[in-house]
Each structure stands twice: as C-alpha cells, then as structure tokens.
C-alpha cells in the first residue's frame, strides 16, 4: 500500500530549519545572529545582526537589525499561515508572498547595502572630477598660456 505524503501544516511557533537556512543564506553574510560566532567578521563590516521572535499568536518573525547603538529593525519578515509578510521598521508593508525566496529577494533590495553606498561614492567622485576638469583645468591652461606669452618680454626686460 502506498502512502501519499501530504505536506504537513507548518508549526506556527518557530521558523523551520529550511526557512531559517533561506533567511540566513540571504542575510547571514551581512548580519550574523547576535552572539553567534560564525560570520561575525562580515557582520562587523555592516554592523547588522538578526534575531527571531514570535507574535502573540505564535507566528514566526525574523528581524534584521541595524548597527549599534540603535540596533533598530530595518526589515521584518513574518510568517502568517503559509504567507510571508515583509515590512520595514516603520510598519510599511513592502511585499507579501507564499514563496520565501521571493520575499527575501525583495527584502535584500530594501536593505541599503555597502555596494549601494559604494556606487553613490563613485558617482560623487566622478561628478567632482568632471567639475574639476571642466572648470578648473581651463583656468590653469589659460594661466599657463599667459605665462608663456609674458616670459619673452620679461626676459627682454631683464
């Protein structure tokens, strides 16, 4: 006799190992769990940590926390029934779906990352360099040309 293995209803209390693996794979490198040794070096870089909790009704919640000293929630992923809810630290609903991987993708996009900061810094540097090239360099060239024109006359006077 064959027994069909139906999908078991999820336990509301805790994140399953599978779910936690997805979440840690998405955020673990940028934020080690508070007190956990693995990945701490990367966490120091971003200053982020993560923690889990539950709602009053026992729905699992995952909090990605910002750097010290505030360590306030940047994003929160909750599981209600079989739906994953993505909110920011102000309670804005950002996304909801039954697929956790999809939710974590949206969550990662919502988190300001170092690479985003690097892009801003590089853009700013390019803008400054461009301004220098356009405004300052012509003045220097002009000064140089004037100098070249006056040098023979100055030499004659001397």
């Amino acid at each position: 006799m064959n027994v069909v293995a139906f999908e078991r209803e999820q336990d509301n209390r805790e994140w399953s190992e599978k779910e936690l693996n997805v979440l840690v794979a998405a955020f673990g490198t940028m934020a080690p769990r508070t007190g956990r040794k693995t990945g701490r070096k990367t966490g120091r870089k971003t200053g982020r940590t993560w923690e889990t909790g539950t709602t009053e009704q026992g729905d699992a919640q995952f909090y990605l926390l910002g750097p010290l000293p505030e360590q306030s929630c940047e994003i929160c992923i909750s599981r209600i029934g079989k739906r994953y809810i993505l909110e920011d630290g102000s309670g804005r609903l950002l996304f909801e779906h039954r697929n956790l991987e999809l939710v974590t993708l949206h969550a990662k996009a919502a988190v300001p990352s170092t690479s985003w900061l690097m892009v801003r810094v590089i853009t700013l540097w390019c803008a400054v360099r461009n301004t220098i090239q356009e405004k300052v360099e012509p003045l220097l060239v002009e000064g140089e040309e004037l100098f070249v024109q006056f040098v023979p006359q100055l030499a004659a006077l001397a």
Partner: protein, 110 residues
Amino acid sequence: MKRDKQQDVFADRPAANAVPDVKQLRKMAGDWLKRRRADAELSQADLAARLGLKYYTFISQVENGFSRVPTEIMGAWARELGLEPAAFARHLLMYYEPEMHRLLFGAESK
C-alpha cells in the same frame, strides 16, 4: 477616577540608577505597550485593525522591542489604548529618547 488610573499607568519608568542601552529601553517600551494593550483588552490583531494596519505583525515588532511606535500613528495608538495622547507620547519619549525627555521634563519626571 480615570485620571488616577492614568497616573498609575504612566508610573512605570526605567530605574534611575541603571543606565539601560537603547535596545533595552525599546524592549521596556514594548513591554509597557503590551501591558497597556492587555489593560485595554485588545489583541494585537484588534489593535492593528483599529490602526488601519493590514497585519498585526508590526504591533508585535514594536512590542517585542525591535521598533518604535511611529510618530504619525502615536496619537491613534494612544486613543485605541484609552490613553491620553500627550501623556502617552511623553511616556514613550522616556524610553525612545531619554536624554530629550530629561531635557524637556527633567526634574518633574523624577
């Protein structure tokens, strides 16, 4: 009578001799909010619905001490708990911005 009850409600405050960090203070605020919600006999879902939130997960986020009550809904949050908004905001400021609270209300809050 109601006034006395309100005064008791706002009597909770961080211990004067301890210097809790930001996270601890937010947790204390969350615990205080949870007690006030229980006093109002509301579930997280009830409060979320009254505040116009689609899910009650944010109420949990705040009560677990990971986020603050946003300023824009602080008044509504207070009213739904049956508390006076100004006193509610002032009490939360003690946890969220203790130095600001000390500067604004200093001696009278002790």
